[in-house]
Amino acid sequence: MGGDGTRQAFDALFSAYVVVTTAALLVIGLALTLAVLRGRRRGSRPGSDPSRLELAYVGVLVLAATALIAVSLVTERNVDARSATPDVRVAAVASQWRWSFTVSEAGRQAAPAADLVVPQGATVAITLRSTDVIHSMWVPEVRFKRYAFPDRTNRFDLEFPDTGSFEGLCAQFCGLEHDTMRFTVHVLDRRGFDAWLAEHGS
């Protein structure tokens, strides 16, 4: 289940978080509005001791934090997991200011290219490094990015559920042409990918 559905994992978790945080914002807004308007209608009175209410409220906060942490950690474990038997391997190299992807599958390897070609639905094991400064490989379509370091390799699995062409970009400032350091991910169906690999591979 390595790198399983990063997009799916993000979308589900993000929806949950947006619901929770929006609810919290509404509660805060409501509480502030009521607190501010209350005094205008009545004179101030020494209120009863709110410490029990505050304690209960802290309890709610602890529960909320725990729940958020729990779903986050579980989701992360799934997303970060790496398959022992990926379908496709990609060696990704970032440089100032271009990308290089070398795709291989079952002994066949394509020549390094500036764009990334992968098959739909397969587990793609990526090794990522840089030749100079820190870069970051971001594919918004699958909601994932990783730093590329010059002195170590990052490994992660990705899965691309839909065919099509998607943008990829560098997400860590790396100098003059950082904003144009982009690439395209072409996700092909099984037959298209086999054909592509046959044509470009060795």
Binding site: L25, P46, V58, L61, S136, K145, D151, F173, G175, D179
Partner: protein, 525 residues
């Protein structure tokens, strides 16, 4: 008892005055000038980003803009203002005549100014100023990738400014510990002073890591040392995260004071708030690697736990401030307007922070405009609004004059509209795949109109700030006179003249709680 030694003023006198009020005023004035520079730069940035394509600047120039923008706002504006607020007010709030080691504070104030000059001096060099962000990660900030003295001048400037902050924090902390007036126990310190106390802790024990990180840059640039980029990241962010809380706590403290005074109520849950502040400060030191979630080099789980847990402490603070508003009758003067807006807007910033505290969410949102929106909501729509609450509240004490209430309202409303219109679209931009620190972005309808809206908001924000500086100028010259205690304050600074004399107090009222003047008033009723 304190004996003043020398008389004499004039320009030289003003420059070498060591008393805490002069030091604070000097630092605040310098920060104000830097704020104008850093803000002007951001307006050029937003003009460039309004539409896809390069219309206003060259790529190189743009990078030389966003770098001083962030650099200025962090090292030369918000951190110094946080400490200047403390330097001015802490002795007054605790009934002391002066800060510990005035000459150290004088020394620090000039380190800050000289540091700022060094950073901006980079613009006058052949290769130009530093241009790799306020973070200047290695290896990019190394000699081969960033040749020329601009980066070195940046490193020196930041190192001086950082040292200045550490020194000021040390003297302010020592003052709180040793110079409290009789009767002022730690648990009778005003809330603002408590927020300054934790700010000093973060500065003292978090900021030295920046000096180490800067040392790594110079080791690479001058001695060709091979530096582990992850080492730099750790050292930088170990400083960088406490830094953002340094740029938050004193301003939160200002809001806490304003909320109490302008609702006429004593703070609800003082002890809980103090505990929450201390817990929040501890937490602030343990979360830094959430800036490194996408590096694959840190234990994401641990930092996700510590980062998300911060909401507990923030929640307690919100509870106590809201309960205080509830208990009192709210007066909608300008300080209270800014305080209320802070509470609403900082919530947006904080809650989006909870979102990016989740590693998987951060995998998409890190280094995107979502994060830019998040930290501008906390630091601008949050901390800076809180700063203005404090400025409009304490200006009469410092100068003996009121800021114009009418201009203050104009400033407030323009700023509310401006900041929200500028920064809210950024959440969408980030989600849609726009990365940060880019001079340009691909031509796409969604990116284009969101950026255009954001840039329009920036123009309104700029206008709001012009109104503020106009208010400042006009009020300094001819503002309505204010007495000792124009607002009905609760804390000791209102028990002396406006402005206070050199030794702060002729006489102190009895201190039996964290709101001594409120006690006196209630007693007299």
């Amino acid at each position: 008892m304190t004996v003043a030694v020398l008389p004499g003023r004039g320009v030289i006198g003003w420059a070498v005055a060591a008393d805490h009020k002069s030091v604070a005023a000097r630092v605040a004035a310098a920060a104000g000038i830097f704020m104008v520079l850093g803000g002007a730069v951001s307006l050029v940035m937003r003009a460039e980003l309004a539409h896809s394509g390069m219309q206003v600047t060259f790529r190189d120039t743009y990078n030389e803009l966003f770098t001083p923008h962030g650099t200025t706002m962090v090292y030369l504006v918000m951190v110094p203002l946080a400490l200047a607020l403390g330097a001015y007010l802490v002795p007054l709030q605790i009934g002391a005549a002066e800060l510990v080691a005035p000459r150290v504070n004088l020394f620090a104030s000039w380190l800050l100014v000289l540091g700022g000059l060094s950073i901006y001096g980079g613009f006058m060099t052949a290769h130009g100023a530093a241009r790799n962000g306020w973070t200047e990660f290695l290896p990019l900030s190394g000699e081969s990738f960033s040749p020329g003295p601009g980066t070195d001048m940046w490193v020196i400037g930041v190192a001086l400014a950082d040292a200045a902050a550490i020194l000021l924090a040390a003297t302010i902390l020592l003052t709180i510990l040793t110079r409290r007036a009789p009767g002022m126990t730690m648990l009778r310190l005003p809330v603002f002073t408590w927020t300054v106390l934790v700010t000093c802790l973060l500065t003292l024990f978090g900021f030295p890591a920046l000096e180490a990180a800067l040392g790594l840059i110079e080791a690479q640039r001058h001695f060709g040392a091979d530096i582990d980029p992850v080492a730099y990241l750790h050292l930088f962010w170990f400083f960088g995260h406490p830094a953002v809380y340094v740029m938050f706590f004193p301003f939160l403290g200002a809001v806490a004071e304003v909320v109490q005074v302008f609702s006429g109520a004593r703070l609800v849950g003082y002890r809980a708030l103090v505990l929450a502040l201390l817990g929040f400060a501890t937490g602030s030191m343990t979360v830094w690697a959430h800036h490194m979630f996408t590096t694959g080099q840190v234990l994401n789980e641990y930092f996700a736990i510590t980062s998300t847990s911060l909401l507990i402490f923030a929640g307690v603070e919100y509870f106590d401030l809201t309960a205080t508003l509830w208990r009192g009758v709210v007066r909608f003067s300008v300080p209270m307007l800014f305080a209320l807006a802070f509470l609403a807007q900082f919530a947006i910033g904080g809650l989006t922070g909870v979102i990016v505290a989740s590693p998987v969410l951060d995998y998409h949102l890190n280094d995107s405009y979502f994060v830019v929106g998040h930290f501008h909501y906390t630091l601008f729509a949050g901390s800076m609004f809180a700063l203005f609450a404090g400025v409009y509240y304490w200006f009469p004490k410092v100068t003996g004059r009121f800021l114009s209430e009418r201009l203050g309202r104009a400033h407030f409303w323009l700023l509310v509209v401006g900041t929200n219109v500028t920064f809210f679209p950024m959440f969408a931009l980030g989600y849609l795949g726009m990365t940060r620190r880019v001079a340009d972005y691909p031509e796409r309808a969604s990116l284009d109109w969101l950026n255009a809206v954001s840039s329009a908001g920036a123009a309104i924000t700029g206008l709001a700030m012009l109104v503020f500086f106009w208010n400042l100028a006009v009020s300094l010259a001819a503002g309505r006179a204010a007495g000792d205690d124009p607002w009905g304050g609760h804390t000791l600074e209102w028990a002396t003249s406006s402005p206070p004399p050199r030794h702060n107090f002729d006489r102190l009222p009895p201190i039996r709680s964290f709101a001594p003047l409120l006690d006196l008033r209630e007693q007299r009723r």
